[in-house]
């Protein structure tokens, strides 16, 4: 779950990280009062779940409250990549004498978090790492050891941070690590960490990715966050707790188990088609979940066929077959549906489907089913 800048900055503020004052608005008319409260000269910043908004016109200066209204008006409703700007953040302007990068995320192969510092902030850190590797330092953190000032100091100096900024920077980094741990983040970033002309460090932007698995202990926060997608189908899938990712192709896919669904997408590609989505109905799910899944998978004009690939393990294929029949009878899909049932009681499952006379193609192997679904999509 990704936060918007203003959401992340509110979290930063809770941990006493230095952030500029600001106010989020959804109507341009509110920009005037907000700008006035913030001292007149402000930044207008589009709140969207994507990077690169500066280049896309999503960050503007305004010198007067009226100019703030005008800029907010231009910005609200515009598109940045696939995201529509629904909120803008009115923030006090800060002078910039230097920009650093500070971030935490984790290294899966070592099962450890790591810290990155760069003396080149305000730009994409991956790009800095490629073009100016000597300006970027990264260290793994042993969670039993913790992160201590000497480490931050050492790495920051090696990355080219000026000594006069080290004191503030150490304090900010330790707080940022508290955000990382305390909020169950997958990633926390301050980019840029601005040194103002007065020499004070302040967080120019915020980036936080939260771990949805930990939502149960951050309920209030999660409930308050803007969803990080605008897509109504993805939103619905989330509500129904269905694991769904929209893709660009025309063969809709439903399967059970993340690995099997990914493999089904691979198979669609391999047989010359293009998958329209990833959709894992999960283990043990039957008619209700299947019904919603089919609705979600088919909710796109691009989709030309549906491939249901179920492997029966503990849940037997005969049970699955009965579930499919119930749903298909009820929702009457108009597209060709190919069903493949394999595993426990697969033959019983297939004969139940056959006898039901519902309009689905029943296949024995994954390859056969995939080839058929791809062919339907090409025809359709």
């Amino acid at each position: 779950m990704k936060t918007l800048e203003y959401e992340g900055k509110a979290i930063f503020d809770k941990y006493r990280l230095p952030v500029p004052s600001g106010k989020v608005i959804t109507e341009a008319s509110k920009a005037e009062e907000a700008a006035r409260e913030l001292g007149g000269e402000v930044m207008i910043k589009a709140q969207v779940h994507t990077g690169g908004r500066g280049k896309a016109g999503g960050i503007k200066k305004a010198s007067t409250p009226l100019e703030a209204v005008q800029k907010a008006e231009e910005m609200l409703g515009m598109m940045i990549k696939e995201y529509r700007v629904k909120k803008v953040y009115i923030e006090e302007q800060v002078s910039i004498s230097k920009e650093y990068y500070l971030g935490f995320t984790y290294d899966r192969s070592k099962n450890l978090p790591f810290f990155i510092v760069s003396s080149s902030g305000g730009v994409d850190i991956e790009k800095v790492a490629q073009e100016d590797p000597e300006k970027v330092r990264r260290i793994n953190i042993d969670p039993l050891w913790g992160i201590h000032p000497y480490q931050v100091r050492r790495e920051a100096l090696m990355a080219g941070v000026k000594y006069e900024h080290i004191g503030q920077l150490v304090s900010v980094v330790l707080k940022l690590y508290n955000v990382f741990l305390g909020e169950d983040a997958r990633l926390t970033e301050i980019n840029p960490a601005i040194i103002t002309e007065e020499g004070t460090l302040i967080c120019g932007d915020s980036k936080i990715e939260l771990d949805s698995s930990a939502a149960f202990r951050h309920r209030e926060l999660f409930d308050s966050l803007e969803p990080d997608t605008d897509d109504p189908v993805e939103l619905r899938a989330r509500e129904e707790n269905i694991s769904f990712v929209k893709l660009e192709g025309n063969v809709a896919v439903i399967g059970n188990g993340a690995g099997l669904v990914m493999a089904t997408l691979d198979s669609v590609s391999r047989e010359g088609g293009t998958p329209a989505n990833f959709l894992d109905i999960g283990g043990g799910a039957l008619s209700k979940q299947m019904e919603t899944s089919i609705e979600i998978a088919l909710d796109s004009p691009k989709v030309k066929s549906l491939l249901i690939n179920i492997f029966g393990g503990i849940t037997r294929c005969d049970e699955v077959a009965r579930g499919i029949i119930e749903v298909v009878k009820y929702i009457h899909p108009e597209l060709p549906i190919v069903v493949r049932l394999g595993g426990t009681n697969e033959e019983e499952g297939r004969s139940i489907l056959n006898e039901s006379k519902i309009r689905v193609d029943i296949c024995k192997t994954m390859r056969e089913a995939t080839v058929k679904a791809v062919a339907y999509a090409e025809e359709g």
Partner: protein, 292 residues
């Protein structure tokens, strides 16, 4: 008997009184697994499926000699169960629970590694281990496996079943099958298992079923290249997955710079593994490497 499993294995089921725990305990007992106890705080003294229940894992070690644990406890309590098992002296823990917060898992794995270095953890979010025809600790459907000489290591449940079923139908049995789990932080990794399979006299060839995200496959490739002496067939799921999107498993995310299926396949291929691009090509590839 198989990877991680010998005749001395005595299993305690943590969370045995929950729906999943109870159900799969029945299936494991049917398969012949030596389950000696269950653990469920406050339910001590009960008997479920002829298995005695205790309030604490430590009691199951003391009274029943438990040395292996399987965890069916919900995500908010599963890490506590891991700590309890490790402190009680359990040396193999299979954690089935899905949805444990990543940082909880990370802390638990590191702590247990440092304080109880003898303890091995499989998972979280693992389907378990099966030694076909002999023993099953997990939620794996035993009926689709058959005894034989091919080892399987995998990050995915259903996909493993799919491939094992194909092997079984092709007359190729399996020696040991281990699901390492679909979470970003897991205990036993591919490379640890390859070391064990390298020494395992029951195993002639190994099938690796990878996924996008992380770098376990790349590390495995490195090991295969330098030290592994048996034929390997590998399939990595997610060749069509876009970067930054979670493909079902919490661990299946391609980051901006690493974790793509193609980089993993490339590494494995260069290391000498036979790689295939769909699960239904695995059985033939295994036949080839075994010279059948």
């Amino acid at each position: 008997m198989g990877i991680f499993i010998d005749n001395e294995m005595k299993v305690v089921v943590q969370g045995i009184t929950g729906r999943e725990g109870k159900y799969h305990t029945g299936l494991m007992l049917q398969y012949g697994t030596n389950i000696v106890a269950g653990c469920s705080p406050g339910k001590g003294g009960q008997i479920i499926n002829e298995v005695p229940i205790y309030d604490a894992v430590e009691e199951t070690v003391r009274h029943e000699g438990a040395n292996t644990s399987i965890i069916f406890v919900p995500p908010g309590f599963a890490v506590d169960a891991l700590y309890e098992a490790a402190e009680a002296g359990i040396r193999l823990i299979i954690c089935i629970t899905e949805g444990i917060p990543a940082l909880d898992a990370m802390h638990a794995l590191r702590r247990i590694d440092v304080i109880y270095p003898e303890t091995r953890i499989i998972g979280p979010n693992s389907p378990g281990i099966i030694i076909p025809g002999k023993s099953l600790i997990g939620i794996i459907p035993g009926n689709i496996f058959s005894p034989g000489r091919v080892g399987i290591i995998s990050r995915s449940g259903t996909l493993t079943y799919q491939i094992a079923y194909d092997l079984t139908n092709a007359g190729i049995g399996q020696s040991s099958v281990i699901g390492v789990g679909g979470d970003p932080f897991i205990g036993v990794k591919f490379i640890d298992l390859l070391e064990l399979f390298n020494e395992d006299p029951e195993t002639e060839a190994v099938c690796i079923i990878g996924e996008i995200g992380g770098s376990d496959e790349e590390e495995a490739a490195d090991y295969i290249k330098n030290k592994f002496s048996k034929p390997v067939v590998a399939y990595v799921a997610g060749q069509t997955a876009p970067a930054g999107k979670k493909m079902g498993h919490a661990g299946a995310i391609i980051s901006a710079t690493a974790g793509t299926a193609s980089s993993k396949m490339k590494a494995l291929k260069e290391a000498g593994a036979v790689t295939v691009s769909t699960p239904y090509e695995v059985a033939d590839a295994i036949k080839n490497v075994l010279g059948k």
